[in-house]
Amino acid sequence: MTVSDREQATAPPPTGDGPVPAVVPRRYGVRPGQAVSLLILAVVAVAALAPGLLSDADPLAADPLHALAPPSAPHWFGTDHLGRDVFSRVVHGAGYSLGIGAAAILFATVLGTVLGALAGLSPRYVDEPLSRLFDVLASFPELLLAMLVISVTGPGAGNVIIAIGLVQLPNYARVIRGQTFVVRRSGYVEQAVTLGLRRPVLVARHVLPNILGPLPVLATIGMGTAIIATSGLSFLGMGPQPPDPEWGSMLAEARNYLRVAWWTVLFPGLSVTLTVVSLTVVGRRLQRRFEGRLP
């Protein structure tokens, strides 16, 4: 009989000096949800890199006779108001959404890392204004900041990349700056000093690699945010211009037919959501692994 199983007290068995993780903790294994997420991301990646493999229909070919046809064998996801194949548009749209997201994140990580590391390694009079700049950038609602950028540059994929990249930049810069502080004051950097390592060696060997540690996690999760932001901007008509099949702009067009053709909304919407959910799931998995490394 169990006496206290129901009580949710928590006292993990003290392991103290015992061989610590004798068994690999369960959470390091891949769970079903994570496997599904990886699968979804793989499919989306294929769609983005080689859409022809998944759909041979032309995403731009209009067929007014078969406009707004519900899902069927030739058109798995139905057709839109111009009779274009929704499945093919969704597949080809992955390239825009993922491409813009990835480019924006690349922009944000590179610039954010450089600025963040600069702030973290510099004396106060450099760090202070830079940190304030990060604060200000982070203080703008991201969609608004992106719209400010676009009101200067005009709509288009390239401008969306810059806008979203700028919006995400402070996230990376702040984390990298914080990480720089942590690593600089860490026991292992001090230890490296006592070993007599020269400063450039020390920075290259112990400081930089450990500062960059959280980047993959941030980038994966940030990619999800970037895809949401991209679709929002496209929805408002500020992203790739029609007839390009970006998911957000597809939704903007489909919105007028919501009452009669649910499939034109559902499938692009599902693509955005599933991609973002999968990115988050994978990102968290990476995060747990990363945190596991740091006791």
Binding site: R132, V136, L148, G224, L251, W262
Partner: protein
Amino acid sequence: MSTLTLTRRRGLAAAGWTGPVVRRLGAGLVVLWVAATAAYAALLLVPGDTVDVLIADGLDTPQRRAAIVAEWGLDRPVPQQYADYLLRLLHGDLGRSYVLQRDVAEILSSQVWPTVRLALTAAAFGVAIALVLALTTAGRRSWAGGLAGLSELTAASVPPFLAGLLLLAVFSFTLGWFPVSGDRGFASLVLPALALGLQIAGTLGQVLREGLERALEEPFAVTARSRGITEWRLVARHALRHALLPAVTLTGWFVGVLLGGAIVVEAVFGRPGLGQITLVAVTGKDMPVVMAVIMLAAAVYVTVSTLVDLAYLVIDPRLRKGR
């Protein structure tokens, strides 16, 4: 516990509040100043002659050109223009929209309330849903916890405009429970607020649950249990405060989500408000309005984040200076 917060109220200074408050307000002013500067820089960066930019799609007459040059001091050197601009902002003068032929302050103030209503309702929905989800499922390693986690994740991953479209499809078109568009009474507020609040509910729910679960594993939770209190009391009196700390950090982000989301949600539901104004201004390149919206957003953010930092001091005594 409430009976025993004896020495807490002995003036801000005694509690070690003055320092953080002053620092916070100073930082807020800096943010506002940089925001104003950024907006101004954006104006100068737009390609083309500044007068043309300011007129945008408005009527182009020599008189109006002269008025613009006079208002923005465009015949004077840039540093002086900039100083004048800051001075005008200090006086609360947000300038004039030459597209809409109205003062910007007037435009904003006429449209601000629908958006405030929407944002507050959405925040209330978001917080309520998150709290209910987190409190009822935290620490449960069962299907209920997993399901709640999955729905939070999904809610956080659906763009607000998509949530709006889906809600419209189900509750307006199919079920006919709520009006499709417009701003007429509470019924027309429910779906937009839900669409906007879902992302907050999802994110906040995840953070709260994680915080609760972490707090329930702390040694003080064992001590508290060893006093014979109920699990519910443990969560309400101990764990929730700990879980709120990381959640409070996100408040600034929520403001961004609400303001940005308002733009798309107002577009989806055809509601009047700041979002519509902003959208029209951005597409029409009505820079005075865009700049004013930026300033307004920065002001809201500064206010909220200052309050958040103070909330931090209230929740976590360890952050107060001194003994």
